[in-house]
């Protein structure tokens, strides 16, 4: 991905300030052009240099890793119930000799909170990423069609968008899940249906300005088919904002899922997600603070990481600012 970012900047950069392959002595135009391309090495170093973004990325990798390898990472069986360990506070030593202590405490059925968090990450992350991807595909496609063809189909799609914008998504989701019954597929579907218009609006807006640009006209004059024009020439220009939006939407979707879980219309027991853990822990709020604190903290930190990541993606996918950002990192490393 990084290779394809054109890092053109009006001021030709002196070689050596950034780009590890250009030596300071070489100042031929060719070398300068080469050094102004962003390489993976530049990206990684600059990433490492921006501590907040780095921490956010690490956290997402950590959570995703824990979710993927949950059976190996979790210290206890997330479903193992035990009366002897009911509602134990964090750091309670394990009942059996030499066992891992209950680092984050246990719930009302004696299940280990940390293990349940790790397994819950599977569902929360899956739903978040999956819904963001599907609604993104749907929304972008409809936005492309609306923005490219205009006319009646544009009116129809945008009327639908307006209608949905004026109704709170949660309300629609609640009613649909009530009518159809909560299941994983219904849940993903309903979240897709309530969020696609965010993508459609942005895509359409950008298409409207793109279709007037000379390069589109040139491509059309060369005899491009509509499909090729949209997919090969116009869509790549929209990638940057769409990826930023999708990253933000992962966080939004995770929060929405948590709310639905909490209201009892999301993931159903015995499956577990972070929102469901909160709902279950709520009854014991006066006696077991850890049950409501940690799952919420997990949701917040993950969503926060995705939000931070989104700002970063916005910076690096924008040619001008990415150049500045990388260079700032490079000079700081050099100093």
């Amino acid at each position: 991905m990084a290779q394809s970012i054109p890092a053109e900047h009006p001021v030709a950069a002196p070689g050596g300030q950034h780009g590890p392959e250009a030596s300071p002595a070489v100042t031929t135009p060719q070398a300068a052009a080469r050094s102004s391309r962003i390489t993976w090495a530049d990206l990684l170093r600059a990433l490492f240099d921006d501590k907040v973004v780095f921490i956010a990325l690490c956290f997402i990798v950590l959570v995703a890793g824990a979710a993927i390898f949950a059976p190996f990472v979790a210290p206890h069986d997330p479903l193992a119930q035990s009366i002897r360990t009911r509602n134990k506070p964090p750091m309670t030593p394990a009942i059996q000799e030499g066992g891992v202590p209950y680092l984050l405490g246990t719930d009302a059925l004696g299940r280990d909170t940390l293990s349940r968090l790790i397994f819950g990450a599977r569902i929360s992350l899956t739903v978040g990423v999956l819904t963001a991807l599907i609604s993104g595909t749907l929304g972008v496609s409809l936005g492309l069609v609306a923005g490219f063809y205009r006319g009646a189909i544009d009116d129809l799609i945008m009327r639908l968008v307006d209608l949905q914008m004026s109704m709170p998504g949660l309300l629609i989701a609640l009613f649909v899940l009530f009518a159809l019954g909560p299941s994983f597929v219904n849940l993903v579907l309903v979240m897709v249906v309530t969020r696609w218009m965010v993508y459609a609006r942005i895509t359409r807006g950008m298409m409207l300005s793109l279709r007037e640009r000379p390069f589109v006209e040139a491509a059309r004059a060369l005899g491009c088919s509509d499909t090729r024009l949209v997919l090969v020439h116009m869509l790549p220009n929209l990638f940057s904002p769409i990826i930023v939006l999708a990253t933000l939407e992962v966080a939004t979707m995770m929060l929405a899922l948590a709310a639905l879980d909490f209201l009892g219309l999301g993931i159903q027991p015995p499956d577990s997600s972070w929102g469901l853990m909160l709902a279950q822990g709520r009854e014991y709020i006066t006696s077991a603070w850890w049950l409501v604190t940690f799952p919420g903290l997990a949701i917040m930190l993950t969503a926060l990481s995705f939000n931070v990541l989104a700002t970063w993606v916005r910076v690096i996918t924008d040619p001008v600012s990415s150049w500045r950002w990388i260079r700032r990192g490079a000079t700081r490393t050099a100093a």
Partner: protein, 297 residues
């Protein structure tokens, strides 16, 4: 009106057409006889167009049928919860809007100050925190640990504070960001420079000139937030046991009370439409150009 019709058709198609209303009303372990009896009793075995005609006719007269749970007509039950929700929404707006405008304006005047940094934290936190979790944390801190405020319930000021603060958190971040952006934008415009160069006090430049123009995007943002406010109210009312329309919706869903769910969705839709209308009216007051259809520009 179009939105309202859309909502009603949507509710009908989903509730009666795709879903199975009799199944929704009954507990999952109900017998086949009970199922058939319920279908016959509510006329769910009639053809769909007959049902639609009957439902549309009833709904237009405000008749949503008897609530299965409370055994009284549904619409009055739903309407009786409206004041509580408006109470909460008003309290939230009273907290959120002045705070947000103050924070936004100050951070526009003094970039990189403490307030400006705090704004970044609040707005980033606002989009990353599950609202209901924030509510639970506030309960944990102020009600359970400190014992200053009641944990939940519907009532006067002491009951209003926690849910209103919870609900206000996210709008504060969003509105303040918009206010900051709008103020920065206006402050750099030529007319403010003119005002400054003719020797007006900084205070007059800021509040008398820039702020008035910055108010337009701020009002728009406040309007956008009203729909999501009701969205959040559904969850927050449940967390705090607030006897509003949102918690009624959840209760009636949990009790599989289809007529009451339909009535509640209908009332919430009307509330949203009314609020949006209200925002439009305020909008024309703030920006006179809109009232004259752009002729004054």
């Amino acid at each position: 009106m179009l939105v309202l019709a859309g909502v009603l058709i949507f509710v009908f198609v989903l509730g009666r057409g795709i879903g199975d209303p009799a199944k929704m009303m009954l507990a999952p372990d109900a017998s086949q006889e009970q199922y058939l009896a319920t279908r016959a009793q509510y006329g769910f075995d009639d053809p769909l167009y007959v049902q639609f005609g009957r439902a549309a006719f009833g709904w237009m007269q405000g008749d949503f049928g008897q609530s299965l749970w409370q055994r009284v007509p549904s619409l009055p039950v739903a309407l009786s919860r409206v004041p509580a929700t408006l109470h909460l929404a008003l309290a939230t707006a009273l907290i959120a809007i002045p705070t947000a405008i103050a924070i936004g304006t100050i951070s526009a005047i003094r970039p990189r100050s403490f307030i400006d940094r705090a704004l970044t934290v609040v707005s980033l936190g606002g989009v990353s925190t599950a609202e209901f979790w924030l509510g639970l944390m506030l309960i944990l801190l102020f009600a359970v640990q400190l014992g200053w405020l009641p944990t939940s319930g519907y009532g006067g000021l002491e009951y209003t504070i926690l849910p209103a603060i919870t609900l206000a958190f996210r709008p504060i971040g969003r509105i303040a960001q918009v206010a900051r952006g709008a103020m920065l934008d206006e402050m750099s415009k030529p007319y403010v420079v003119t005002a400054r160069s003719k020797g007006l006090a900084e205070r007059v430049c800021t509040f008398g000139h820039a702020f008035r123009n910055a108010a337009i995007p701020i009002v728009t943002m406040c309007g956008d937030e009203t729909a999501s406010l009701l969205n959040g109210a559904v969850v927050i009312e449940t967390v705090f046991g607030w006897a509003g329309i949102g918690s009624l919706l959840i209760q009636s869903i949990n009790r599989r009370d289809l007529p009451l769910v339909e009535a509640t969705v209908f009332v919430i839709a009307i509330m949203i439409i009314t609020l949006n209308l209200l925002v439009d009216v305020i909008y024309t007051r703030v920006d006179p150009r809109i009232r004259f259809g752009g002729a004054a520009t």
